[in-house]
Amino acid sequence: MTARDLIPIAVLTILAALLPLAVTSSPVLNFLVFMLIVALGAQGWNILGGFGGQFSFGHAAFFGTGAYVTAILQLRYGVNAWAGLVLATAAGAAVGWVIGFLSFRSGLRGSYFALVTLAFAEVLRILANAASFTGGAAGLLIKLDVRAANLQFADRAVFYWLVLALVAAVLLLTRWIQRSRFGAQLVAVRENEDAAKALGVNSLTVKLRAIALSGGVTALSGCLYAQYFLYIDANIAYGSWISVELLLAPIIGGVGTVFGPVVGALTLHGLGEVAKQFAGRIPGIDLIVFGGVLVLAVAFARGGILGLLERLRDRGRGVMARGSKEVSHAGR
């Protein structure tokens, strides 16, 4: 990666990190923390769905695994919350690998892959709801004990910085993917699996790596959710709402781009809040906006918000550049 790759990430992260110094309102910080947790999970989805083109409708399977693993480790085995963070990520990657192995080996793609991931998440939800070591339907409550060693902070800003740092780390990770052999092969598999195979790409391995990475990152966000709200149950952790939310953010923001998931999460949540300001008495108004934005984005803004911006920029430039391009064509 070159400096040009790193600078935008660094600048945006630093700007975002300065925010708590200007904004001291807890509700705003709380909103931002939650938004960033969603963005992080969406970044996970984007690795598999955006770069790999495998649309999962069941990323709750990873989110929930992350949340449950950290909660169970802390509650049942007294494992430190920071270690829980690492182990939860690993568990998410492992679950990703298993689901990926089963479905990719059977050659599932497109709608079939979407359906099978959905079903896996539902099975996990029902199991978590029934099993006793997950606390069953009563869910799990992580003890409120505000100490940095427990990954609980008196100041919300600290948690904000923590999530922000992880989001930034995943931004770097995705930028690296974009610039690496693995990324090129992953995108090739997305665009045309047979052509990629003919070029020596082991598509199964590439997809498995992607789903493991994706599962790990999303599990990390689930873990942070559990750590922040200190309570989870099967419907929160494995509910289909999170699968949908993690998929919406990248698609609205710009699927398969580095910043897409973050832009999407911020836009959606911002729009939802605005909708509630204007029509708060209508239940579900923000969701109507949501679904509508999704349809509109697919219809008119392929590539999401970032794609739209890029095209607008290109159009601006295109007017000037067109002439020279045509010359070069003729010259060939």
Partner: protein
């Protein structure tokens, strides 16, 4: 009734709101907070937070809870506000918990920013768990209105109070009352089938009953779990029919309870009694009105107002005049606000520590529940208790304990 915030299957998409955070965008979009308070800067006000899920899966219940709280606030203000604070008026800061714990937390943050003195509400256990914990960070008094999960009070949070009975207490009383009602009728019921939804509420209850019922001489023939939403109750009914129990104890939500009752009616299953604990429909006016036949003689052990309290009757009239049904969470929110106002009155201050102290020392009896004076031990009102109702004719009647009973128990059902 301590229901877990539910979410099932694909369409849960919106049941769990996809977008959950509260009104923080007010700040994000650079709108000022708390505009109303600016206008009232002259008169002293005490802000109290009312947290209810008025959108999402629990919207119907949340709406009723808010109605109860609003009634109490306007009543207190009409009677001259908080006298020890020179007649300061109560001002409601309403928060929509959107049927999810995160949204509940978010609203607590906003209420804190708006300077409330205490918060009442939550309804569902997961919301109460998360919201009371968020309030604990600021030592903000939190009064749980309904959430029955025993976890809520087991965390040792000093800011959290529950006026109504918890899960353990409800079950205990329900069993005591069942035994008493059965004994009084000459012990007609010996065998039991438990039907429960497989969420927090139903499973927890079933587990408790499985250990407790045999101790009281009942034989459990079978425990049947079903998901929410259930598409079909005919299997459950079939099993009940083949087991032919004296008593069916269901614990589930409205839709499934109605489905079960109607399917049992269809399959001509007539046990000696249907005894619901925190039943989803068993003390719901709409069920009685829409399916009087299926509903007939169903007994419930649940939160319920004191039917002999004139204030309760007046409240019921007022709520029904608004076109709303009168449910237990109206009475509970109403009573909780009165309880809180009394504590603020005695504290003579909006200081949080002093309100918490006043709540701890509360012996408030001006509420409309059949509890008598409150007595908080570690935040839980020890005096709180559920009572038994039975659907008789077109009405829900209190049948036990005798001190509150409006009618005699029809048991075994004719």
């Amino acid at each position: 009734m301590g229901r877990s915030v539910q979410d099932t299957t694909l369409s849960g998409i919106s049941r769990r709101t996809v977008l959950k955070t509260g009104a923080a965008a007010a700040a994000v979009s650079a709108l000022p907070f708390a505009a109303p308070s600016v206008l009232r800067a002259q008169t002293a006000v005490v802000k109290i937070g009312i947290l209810q899920p008025v959108t999402g899966a629990l919207a119907h219940d949340g709406d009723l809870g808010r109605a109860g709280a609003e009634m109490a606030i306007s009543e207190i203000n009409a009677a001259g506000g908080i006298k020890s604070l020179d007649g300061a008026k109560l001002e409601m800061v309403f928060g929509d918990a959107r049927s999810t714990p995160e949204a509940g937390t978010q609203e607590v943050e906003r209420m804190q920013a708006e300077g409330v003195s205490a918060i009442v509400g939550g309804f569902a256990s997961p919301i109460c768990l998360a919201a009371s914990q968020a309030a604990a960070r600021y030592d903000l008094p939190y009064l749980v209105d309904v959430g029955v999960s025993d976890q809520i009070m087991a965390r040792g949070l000093t800011n959290t109070f529950r006026f109504s009975p918890g899960f353990g207490k409800v079950t205990q009383v329900a069993l005591d009352n069942l035994t008493a009602i059965n004994d009084k009728a000459g012990k007609p019921a010996k065998t039991v089938v438990l039907v429960h939804e497989d969420g927090l509420f139903g499973s927890g209850l079933a587990k408790l009953l499985q250990t407790e019922l045999p101790k009281r001489g009942f034989e459990i023939l079978e425990t049947i779990a079903h998901p929410t939403p259930a598409r079909d109750m005919s299997n459950v009914a079939l099993r009940i029919r083949s087991l032919n129990p004296d008593l069916v104890i269901p614990s589930n939500y409205y839709g499934e309870f109605v489905l079960l009752a109607r399917t049992m009616q269809q399959q001509r299953i007539k046990p000696k009694g249907i005894y619901a604990i925190l039943g989803g429909a068993a003390s719901n006016g709409r069920f009685v009105k829409e399916f009087p036949q299926a509903a007939q003689n169903v007994i419930d052990c649940n939160h319920w107002h004191d039917p002999k309290n004139p204030k309760a009757l007046a409240l019921r009239k007022a709520v029904e005049a608004q076109g709303k049904s009168f449910a237990y969470n109206v009475s509970l929110n109403y009573s909780n606000v009165l309880l809180l106002a009394d504590a603020i009155e005695r504290a003579g201050s909006t200081d949080r520590r002093q309100i918490i102290e006043a709540l701890n020392a509360s012996t408030f009896a001006g509420h409309i529940m059949p509890y008598g004076p409150t007595k908080f031990v570690n935040g839980q009102n020890e005096a709180a208790t559920p009572i038994n109702t039975q659907i008789q004719g077109e009405d829900i009647k209190v049948i036990f304990p005798d001190a509150f009973a409006e009618a005699k128990a029809n048991f075994p059902a004719a």
